[in-house]
């Protein structure tokens, strides 16, 4: 069942222990897109969890509006608050995982909270505050599990194959996101719109995710000798920003996030630019996700080969190209196709790649907290960017705002390129911090 079985001899003897970067595949095997069993297991967890989550996302507006007679705008107003909670919880989840040296249980709690929410939603149908509470808990669960999960992926993979590991994981994750809505609609169709059945089936998928995590994901052994173990304090979680190169990557991620135009804004601009039938709107995110799914692994591999910093920067130039596509007088089909493919490519070149870029720069025993910090910084930057873009639109109109965003992207990418150039290149230079904890360096 594992792709990694191509490592014929190793696979048998080390399948149960090679979850850390301690065992590295042979040079020959590394040429093939092979990933650690742990990464595949985490990919499966994310795949079924995303089926579960996207099933609910697909029907939630219908359920709230049509089933319960509520207007989701009220929930939308709270959404900003939930997102703040989600982003704020990430470093906390990461830090707790580092501190206890147990990534798997912390991630597991996050997955379990979201699973429980799937059954809680129909149970609290009569009460609007409780629905809000369950949705908030679901978002917190997601915030809690993301950093420890990404740390697990990173710690289970050799430093020079981080891009591949995150690429495989993100591709599997997106596959689940694409499967969720059709499954939900199928259940609704079979049951003549019984929303409770959708929640029950979604719960089953979520539980399957928790089970796969519990049974098949291994806690990586960070170091073999107890002597090198140090206690992780709260101060270390912040001091990780001083780790060579890591602070620069964080600064770049934050800077670039501030000039990132959100996908919902690009869809809005696309709708205005092309006279698109309203029935086709839901297909826009679908197209982006499909491009993301197909390109996640190729971009991850390119990152391992040519430098993940370069791919990350190139991703922002791809977003710049998506902005230009909307500004150019292209025919409708080309504008839609171009924008969606470029947007998917942007996510493929930046989402997992950023984690793959940042992870090896953080010491292994601080990695989950460090990744949580990057993610929170990025979320904060995007929030700033969204407000700035909205203000520009109000002041100058949509086309000028988009042109300004493109200019901002170009300038920020240039600055980020300068910042990253001063950093030791990860794939070639073995990094002192990570290897000290690897034990086999």
């Amino acid at each position: 069942m594992y792709l990694s079985s191509s490592r014929t001899n190793d696979a048998i003897t080390t399948a149960r222990t090679d979850t850390s970067s301690g065992t590295r595949p042979s040079r020959r095997a590394r040429l093939l897109p092979v990933v650690a069993p742990n990464v595949l297991a985490l990919g499966m967890v994310s795949l079924v969890t995303d089926i579960s989550a996207e099933m609910v996302t697909a029907i939630l507006p219908v359920y709230l509006v049509v089933g319960l007679g509520l207007s989701p705008l009220a929930f939308g107003m709270l959404d900003g608050l939930y997102n703040v909670a989600n982003a704020a919880v990430r470093p906390i989840g990461g830090h707790v995982a580092d501190r206890t040296r147990r990534h798997k249980p912390v991630a597991g709690v996050g997955y379990a909270v979201s699973a429980a929410g799937k059954l809680a939603l129909p149970a609290v149908a009569g009460s609007v505050p409780l629905i809000g509470g369950v949705l908030a808990a679901d978002r917190m669960g997601k915030g809690l599990r993301t950093a420890p999960r990404d740390a697990l992926i990173s710690l289970s993979s050799p430093d020079d194959a981080q891009g591949r590991a995150f690429g495989v994981h993100r591709a599997m994750d997106t596959t689940g996101a694409l499967l969720g809505p059709p499954v939900a609609l199928l259940v609704l169709w079979v049951t003549v719109e019984a929303y409770d059945a959708v929640f029950v089936v979604s719960f089953c998928f979520a539980m399957l995710g928790v089970l796969i995590l519990a049974l098949f994901v291994r806690e990586p052994t960070l170091d073999r000798t107890a002597a090198t173990r140090r206690k992780v304090r709260l101060l270390d979680a912040v001091a990780v920003l001083r780790a060579p190169g890591f602070g620069r990557v964080c600064a770049c991620a934050l800077l670039l996030a501030c000039v990132t135009v959100g996908d919902s804004m690009l869809y809005l601009l696309l709708q205005r630019r092309v006279d698109l039938s309203p029935a086709l709107f839901p297909l826009l995110p679908f197209g982006t996700a499909l491009a993301f799914l197909l390109l996640a692994l190729p971009f991850g591999l390119l990152g391992d080969r040519f430098g993940r910093g370069r791919v990350f920067l190139a991703g922002h130039l791809i977003l710049l190209a998506a902005c230009l596509t909307l500004l150019l007088p292209l025919p409708g089909a080309a504008a839609i196709g171009g924008t969606l493919v470029l947007l998917g490519a942007f996510y493929a070149a930046t989402d997992g790649v950023l984690m793959a870029l940042a992870a090896p720069l953080a010491p292994a025993d601080l990695r989950a907290g460090a990744l949580g910090l990057v993610q929170t910084g990025q979320a904060a930057g995007r929030a700033v960017g969204a407000v700035a873009f909205g203000a520009a639109w109000t002041a100058w109109g949509p086309r000028t705002a988009l042109a300004a965003a493109a200019l901002g992207l170009a300038m920020a990418t240039t600055v980020a390129a300068t910042l990253l150039r001063g950093r030791p290149a990860v794939p070639t230079d073995p990094h002192d911090d990570t290897d000290r904890h690897d034990g086999d360096a």
């Binding site: 507006p61 207007s71 009220a74 709270l78 609704l188 019984a194 059945a197 919902s264």
Partner: protein, 337 residues
């Protein structure tokens, strides 16, 4: 645990979870198929002094369009002799021989249609809706119809909804499918922003003017619209889902009030358009509905409950106490002469 043991546990759990998922789905499908036979009445959308609504009673007529004479409403126990039709509508409105029924068109594609109905509630035209249906209105003369839907929520576990509102002239078939493209004037100035949303249309008697909610930047406004000029002009702040009184002098709407449930923070108010005085309706419960006028002095509105709605009536001048008009009902539409 050995690999075999782990695979065994996974296999057994898969069987159990699959049994739960499939079993529950089949049970729900069975539940939906039971008790489908019931005589269906044909509504008459020209007959005044009737109230039409979506019946949410937990029986075979659930989510069907039903009708009741106004004189037969408001019985103390809440039971009534509603005439349930064959037609399923999620959101409904009617006036002067024209009906507007927002219904599920294709469950697999999750697609909804706005269906224009004639006086015998027969469909005469279908229009695909963008997103999930929310509000429906027919002009007093029965010629103009408007509907609002929620679009979006596409991001992972995201709830970034926006609204979309369309107006259709049933005489010419002219469809203005996005009122956000109207010129918005706020405080006398032309206003533009990416986050403008328009929802909850209510038509004036001349069938050209209308009122609607315009929202941007966290504020909501009552706006007066002009279909011919394609403009929306804000007239009052913090007002959503307006409903114009039959004489066109007052607007009932939901107003965001502090110190209430954050997910449903609205209470019903009535604004006198001449004196600009705002009067709270004597119902202190939070609501989320576009009100309807029962007569010149009474507003009716739905309060959500446990998977169902009830329709309540209150005096528009803020006096008296609310009374239960219809149990198990949503989307009330009052037919006038």
């Amino acid at each position: 645990m050995s690999r075999t043991a782990r695979l065994t546990v996974l296999g057994l759990s898969l069987v159990l979870l699959a049994a739960l998922g499939f079993g529950y789905t089949l049970h729900a499908a069975d539940r939906a198929r039971s008790g489908r036979d019931r005589p269906h009445a044909v509504p008459d959308l020209n007959h005044p002094a009737q109230i039409l609504f979506r019946s949410t009673a937990p029986d075979a007529g659930r989510d069907h369009l039903a009708a009741l004479d106004v004189s037969g409403t408001g019985r103390p126990e809440g039971d009534d002799d509603r005439r349930v039709s064959d037609l399923k509508c999620l959101v409904f409105h009617a006036a002067h021989g024209t009906g507007l029924c927002l219904q599920l068109a294709n469950p697999v594609l999750n697609a909804y249609d706005a269906v224009i109905l004639d006086a015998r509630a027969r469909p005469v035209a279908h229009h695909r809706i963008a997103g999930t249906p929310s509000r429906a209105r027919v002009s007093p003369g029965g010629h103009m119809v408007a509907w609002t839907s929620f679009v979006g929520g596409e991001s992972y576990a995201g709830l970034n909804f926006s609204t979309r509102t369309a107006i259709l002239d049933t005489r010419t078939g002219t469809l203005l499918d996005n009122l956000e493209e109207f010129t918005v004037r706020r405080d006398g100035q032309i206003y533009r922003a990416p986050d403008i949303n328009v929802w909850g249309v209510t038509f004036a008697a001349d069938e050209n003017r209308f009122y609607a909610t315009v929202a941007s930047d966290g504020h909501t406004y009552l706006a007066q619209g002009d279909i011919a000029a394609e403009t929306l002009t804000t007239v009052h702040e913090n007002a959503e889902c307006p409903s114009l009184s039959p004489d066109g002098t007052r607007v009932a709407y939901k107003k965001r009030v502090s110190g209430t449930d954050p997910a449903r923070p609205w209470r019903l108010f009535v604004l006198d358009l001449r004196t600009r005085t705002e009067t709270p309706v004597a119902d202190t419960r939070e609501l989320d509905d576009q009100a309807e006028w029962l007569d010149a002095d009474t507003v009716v509105y739905m309060l959500p409950g446990d998977q169902r709605g009830d329709v309540w009536a209150s005096r528009a001048d803020g006096s008296g106490t609310p009374r239960l008009l219809l149990r198990y009902a949503m989307s009330p539409a009052v037919l006038r002469g």
